[in-house]
């Protein structure tokens, strides 16, 4: 009877130095499938190799011997000793192997729980193996059902959309206000670490026209260079603030640097276009009353932390809901597998005939 066996390692079980020794670049996959099938003696194969995990998915009639042979195959490939590699390897046999792929594909086993990149990577791994003829009935159905389950988890629990850190919440709020961040101007007032990471996230999502004002010119210029921004001196503050759609403050100033009166004037000159301000400074860099102005959205570090905490709770609930969905989907696969294997197994009458 064909069973699913998985052997591999991930960011939890192995450090990056080991993961990179075991990684299979995509151009080697085609030659890998026949090699695994011959050396290990499995019928179907797929290889999932990302920066966070390396896993071999197989379907085999020899469930007892396959795990050890797969271990040996990976150890050979790493050109390291067994004692170095083996502790990092995990092995799953059916039904845990099925559960594992479903969990991985849904992003529940990822470093950032719920991320969707892995779904694409699993799809790519499956489609490649299928196009090379390395998969058969069991892996085909397994991967299709896993991808389908991941889709259900994503739409039903919203797990990938939950932001539970101050950095991601601040960027998501910017998108809540503006939709696309493409073409939006950002002003960085002060270049603290949190401000830098927020700027990085904003830049990834398309913000440009980045202006940086900071007391230390060296640091600001370095940051400007990294993200294609421009450094300005402190006396440009009001002019640059009026041009910005997003302002991130993180200076060590002891009194407010953006006052209600200033922002009121800025809003007039920007024809009331929405303005999003993140105040990461302690003491606060922006007068609280600025948040009362129409079309101004002001969030300080506590506001962001509160939202992140609340979302974290939701994330836990979404994980539980996702696990329930996956449990159901795994059952579906196992039922299909049961029916399929009993249909394909020779009946007692056929066995008697053969003998």
């Amino acid at each position: 009877m064909a069973h699913i066996v998985v052997v591999g390692l991930n960011f939890k079980s192995a450090p990056i130095a080991l993961r990179e020794r075991l990684a299979f670049p995509q151009d080697s996959w085609s030659s890998l499938y026949p090699k695994i099938q011959q050396q290990v003696g499995v019928q179907e194969t797929a290889v999932l190799s990302t920066c966070n995990r390396v896993e071999l998915y197989t379907s085999t009639d020899n469930m007892a011997a396959a795990p050890d042979r797969l271990h040996d195959f990976l150890i050979d490939h790493s050109r390291m000793t067994a004692s170095e590699v083996k502790p990092a390897l995990y092995t799953y046999t059916q039904p845990q192997s099925v559960q594992h792929l479903f969990t991985v594909t849904s992003g529940l086993d990822s470093m950032v729980v719920g991320e969707s990149e892995i779904q694409y990577q699993v799809k790519k791994a499956y489609e490649h193996a299928k196009s090379e003829g390395a998969t058969g009935k069991y892996l085909n159905v397994l991967f299709q059902k896993a991808l389908n389950a991941a889709k259900s988890v994503r739409t039903e629990t919203g797990i990938g959309r939950i932001c539970n850190s101050v950095g991601t919440v601040s960027v998501d709020l910017a998108q809540k206000v503006f939709g696309s961040l493409k073409g939006k101007s950002v002003l960085l007032l002060g270049a603290g670490e949190m401000a830098q990471s927020t700027l990085k996230r904003l830049a990834i999502r398309g913000s440009d026209h980045i202006a940086i004002i900071n007391r230390s010119q060296e640091r600001a210029e370095h940051l400007a260079q990294q993200h294609g921004g421009v450094y300005y001196l402190w006396h440009h503050l009001e002019e640059k603030a009026a041009q910005a759609d997003i302002i991130i403050c993180s200076t060590a100033a002891q009194s407010a640097i953006l006052t209600k009166k200033m922002v009121q004037g800025m809003m007039q000159s920007r024809h009331n276009r929405a303005l999003y301000i993140v105040d990461l400074g302690v003491p606060r860099n922006v007068e609280v009353s600025v948040g009362e102005l129409d079309n101004v959205y002001l969030f300080n570090v506590d506001d962001l932390q509160k939202i992140a905490d609340k979302n974290d709770l939701q994330q836990q609930q979404a994980i539980l809901a996702s696990q329930k969905i996956l449990h159901r989907k795994v059952e579906h696969y196992l039922n299909w597998w049961q029916a399929e294997t009993s249909r394909c197994a020779p009946s007692s009458w056929e066995r008697a005939e053969a003998s």
């Binding site: 919203g158 998501d172 809540k176 206000v177 009331n272 276009r273 929405a274 969030f299 939202i307 939701q314």
Partner: protein, 151 residues
Amino acid sequence: MIQIHIIFTLLSYAIFLVACLAGVLFLVQERLLKRKQVGSWIFRLPSLEVLDNLNLYALGLGFIALSIGVLFGFLGIYHELGYWWTGDIKQYLSVGLWGWYLIVWWIRLRSTLRGKRVALLSVLGFTLVLFTVIEAGMWQSSAHPYVDTRV
């Protein structure tokens, strides 16, 4: 002529409904953002800027459709009766509605008001639409009996 009047007027009402819904979604989200009550479900809704733009386009399109509808209404009356003004309640309401949306659209185009306030005007505008449709329909002497009063 009357058909064009009916089609464009109803079309404008449908577009104003879109503007109103965009306005409601804007107001709800704006309030939650201001109060920092941001649940993850809020991220499934369109962004404030998208809603504000949708409101602007809907107001513009709706206003154009309403203008054509009202114009053909008047032309229809003139064609049938030989004069422009019948004193029908619906006529007053339609002209009022047209004036209201002219002002709202103009305000939004001039950018003197944006976001919350325009969203609010848009929602109020649609209540005026509803009032126009329902009230005029109930009015027995109206030339627009949406409710058949002959029975």
